[in-house]
C-alpha cells in the first residue's frame, strides 16, 4: 500500500504549479471506478455539506474493492486517489491505513473537517468497511 502512496507522491512532485496538479486531479476523476447505478442511493450516500459522495465496497478474493461517485469532479479525483491506494488491499490493512500521501502532495486541506466536502467522512467509511470485512472474513458485498 505504501508503494502506491510513494508512487503518487512521485507523480505529484513533477507538477510545476497548482494548475497542473488540479488538472491532473480532474483527469483522475474521469478514471474513478464508478459505483454501480443500483447502489447510487441514499444508503450509500456520504453526506458532506457541499459535494455528495456515494461509496460501495465488496470483498473479492480476500481483497476490498471500492467503487464510488461524486457530483464534484475535484472530489471525484481525490476519491480516485484514495481508491487507488485502498482498493485491492486486505481488509485489516484498509482498516489501519495511514494515508500520509494526501499531506505530502499538498491536498491536506481537502481532508479537513471544515472543508465539508464529504471526503473525510468517506475515508472513515472506507476504514469501517475494512473493519467490517476483517470481522466477517468471507467474500461478500456490504449492502
Amino acid at each position: 500500500m505504501n508503494e502506491i502512496q510513494e508512487e503518487i507522491i512521485d507523480e505529484f512532485s513533477l507538477f510545476g504549479d497548482w494548475m497542473e496538479k488540479y488538472e491532473y486531479i480532474i483527469e483522475l476523476g474521469k478514471t474513478l471506478p464508478l459505483i454501480d447505478e443500483q447502489y447510487k442511493t441514499d444508503d450509500h450516500l456520504i453526506r458532506g455539506c457541499q459535494s455528495r459522495v456515494w461509496l460501495h465496497a465488496g470483498l473479492k478474493d480476500g481483497k476490498v474493492e471500492f467503487t464510488a461517485d461524486s457530483d464534484a469532479v475535484i472530489t471525484k479525483g481525490l476519491i480516485a486517489l484514495m481508491i487507488r491506494v485502498l482498493s485491492g488491499q486486505k481488509p485489516e490493512d484498509v482498516a489501519k491505513a495511514d494515508l500520509y500521501f494526501i499531506d505530502r502532495i499538498g491536498l491536506k486541506e481537502h481532508l479537513s473537517p471544515t472543508r465539508s466536502n464529504g471526503l473525510l467522512s468517506m475515508v472513515k467509511q472506507m476504514k469501517l468497511y475494512g473493519v467490517a470485512f476483517a470481522a466477517r472474513g468471507e467474500d461478500s458485498d456490504i449492502y
Partner: protein, 414 residues
C-alpha cells in the same frame, strides 16, 4: 439647503483598505481577494482598537457596581446601545436588545412572542428565500404551540410574489417574518409595502436585516417595522454580538427569553419579578467589549457615509454582474430589480465546490454551497451556487480577478 440630487462622495478606497491589514495577506501564494463579506466581513483597525481600549482602560462588570470603573464600563455599554439606536433610528434605547447576533434575535422573538401569542392553528408567514435562521426558530415554536408555517413563493428572478404573499395573510396570521435582503441572491424585498399590508391586518412584522445593514440605511421608525434583527460581524463589527430592535409595546408584552442575573428586579423562591426594558431580555453579563466594537463599526460606516457605502456596493454589483455575464455558460441566480451585496452564480454544469476550490487556489475567497437556504436551492433544483459578496473595501480589481479566476476554472474543468 442640500438638494437631494447632490452627488454622493466616492469612497476613498486606499484609506478604507489601509484599515484592513488582513487584505494584505496572500492565500495559496496569491494576494487575497476577499469576496465573502456576506458570510462575515473583515474588521477595521478602529473596531479592534476600540475593543482593546475598553478592556485596557474601562472594563468592569456593568450595571451593578457602585465604584467609578463599573460606572464607566456601564456608560461605555449604554453608549453603544444609543449608537445602535441612532444607527437604525429607533425611538428609544429601551427598544434595543443586545444579542449574540441576528440568529439569536430571531430565536428570542420566536420563543418569547410565540409563547405569549401563538395558539394552535395560528400561522407564521415567511418566504422561500429565508436563511435557515429565519425558518428553524419558527419551526421550533410552531411545534410547541401548534402554529403553522406558511411559505410565500418567489419568481425565478428571486423576487417575492407579492400577490401570492398577500393571499397567505388572514385572521390566523400572527407573524410575518422575512429577510430584508436575501443572503443567497442579494434580492432586496419591498419591505415598506409588506409592512404596510401586514399592518392593515394588524399583523406584526419581523425583518431579518443581517444582509441589509451592511449596505442600506435602515430607519425602523420610517419602516414602522415591529422587530428588526442584525449581526455586528457582517457590518465590520466583532463576532458574537448583534442587536434586536423591538417596538416597546411588543417587548413589554413578551415574557423573558433567558433567565439569570441582570434581567430580574426581585427574586424570591416563590416569585421573581423582571427588570424593565431592555434588561429584561439581557440575562447574565453582556458582551460589553462586543457592544463597544459594534459602536466602533457604526462609527466606521458613518465615517465613510452610508450613502457612499450604498453607492460603492452598487458600483461593485453592477460591474460584477456585467463582467460575469460576459463569461460563456455562466448563469447568475437572482436577477431581482433591487439587489445589493452579493451575486450568486453557476459556471455551466460545474459543481460549485469545484469552482470554489479552483478560485481558492488563485487566492479568491468566495462562498460555495447552499448558503443555509436549502429550500431555495431545492426550488431552483441546484446543489448550491458560487456566491461573491462585497464589502466597502472591495475594488474593481477584485472583480476582475474573480472573473479571470472563474474563466480559468472553467477552462480547467472543461
Amino acid at each position: 439647503m442640500t438638494p437631494a440630487t447632490e452627488p454622493v462622495r466616492p469612497v476613498d478606497l486606499q484609506a478604507v483598505r489601509s484599515q484592513f491589514p488582513i487584505l494584505g495577506r496572500k492565500m495559496n501564494g496569491q494576494p487575497l481577494v476577499f469576496l465573502d463579506s456576506a458570510a462575515s466581513s473583515q474588521k477595521p483597525v478602529s473596531v479592534l482598537e476600540a475593543m482593546d481600549q475598553y478592556y485596557l482602560t474601562r472594563h468592569a462588570n456593568v450595571h451593578r457596581g457602585v465604584y467609578q470603573l463599573s460606572q464607566e464600563a456601564t456608560e461605555a455599554f449604554e453608549q453603544a446601545r444609543r449608537a445602535v439606536q441612532g444607527f437604525i433610528n429607533a425611538a428609544s434605547d429601551r427598544e434595543i436588545i443586545f444579542t449574540r447576533g441576528a440568529t439569536e434575535g430571531i430565536n428570542l422573538v420566536a420563543s418569547s412572542f410565540g409563547r405569549q401569542f401563538f395558539k394552535p392553528g395560528d400561522e407564521i408567514v415567511l418566504s422561500r428565500l429565508e436563511h435557515h435562521s429565519n425558518i428553524v426558530p419558527w419551526q421550533l415554536i410552531a411545534e410547541q404551540t401548534g402554529a403553522k408555517i406558511r411559505v410565500a413563493p418567489i419568481n425565478e428572478a428571486g423576487e417575492l410574489l407579492l400577490d401570492e404573499w398577500e393571499k397567505l395573510l388572514n385572521e390566523r396570521t400572527k407573524m410575518v417574518t422575512i429577510a430584508h435582503v436575501s443572503n443567497a441572491l442579494g434580492s432586496i424585498f419591498p419591505v415598506e409595502e409588506l409592512i404596510a399590508k401586514a399592518h392593515e391586518r394588524d399583523i406584526p412584522v419581523l425583518l431579518d436585516g443581517a444582509q441589509a445593514v451592511p449596505h442600506l440605511p435602515v430607519d425602523v421608525q420610517a419602516l414602522d417595522v415591529d422587530f428588526y434583527v442584525f449581526s455586528a460581524h457582517k457590518m465590520y463589527g466583532p463576532t458574537g454580538i448583534g442587536a434586536l430592535y423591538g417596538k416597546e409595546k411588543w417587548l413589554d408584552a413578551m415574557p423573558p427569553y433567558h433567565g439569570g442575573g441582570e434581567m430580574i428586579s426581585n427574586v424570591t423562591f416563590e416569585k421573581t419579578t423582571f427588570n424593565e426594558l431592555p434588561f429584561k431580555f439581557e440575562a447574565g453579563t453582556p458582551d460589553m467589549a462586543g457592544a463597544v466594537g459594534l459602536e466602533a463599526a457604526i462609527l466606521f460606516m458613518e465615517g465613510i457615509g452610508l450613502d457612499t457605502i450604498r453607492q460603492h456596493d452598487k458600483t461593485l454589483l453592477d460591474y460584477a454582474t456585467e463582467k460575469l455575464l460576459s463569461v460563456p455558460d455562466l448563469k447568475i441566480f437572482g436577477n431581482a430589480r433591487q439587489k445589493t451585496g452579493a451575486v450568486s452564480f453557476l459556471m455551466g454544469n460545474h459543481h460549485p465546490y469545484d469552482v470554489g476550490a479552483l478560485l481558492d487556489q488563485q487566492g479568491i475567497a468566495v462562498r460555495t454551497g447552499h448558503h443555509c437556504t436549502q429550500p431555495l436551492m431545492d426550488w431552483y433544483g441546484i446543489p448550491g451556487t458560487v456566491r461573491a459578496s462585497f464589502g466597502v473595501y472591495n475594488n474593481l480589481e477584485d472583480i476582475d480577478r474573480l472573473v479571470a479566476g472563474v474563466e480559468r476554472a472553467a477552462r480547467m474543468l472543461g
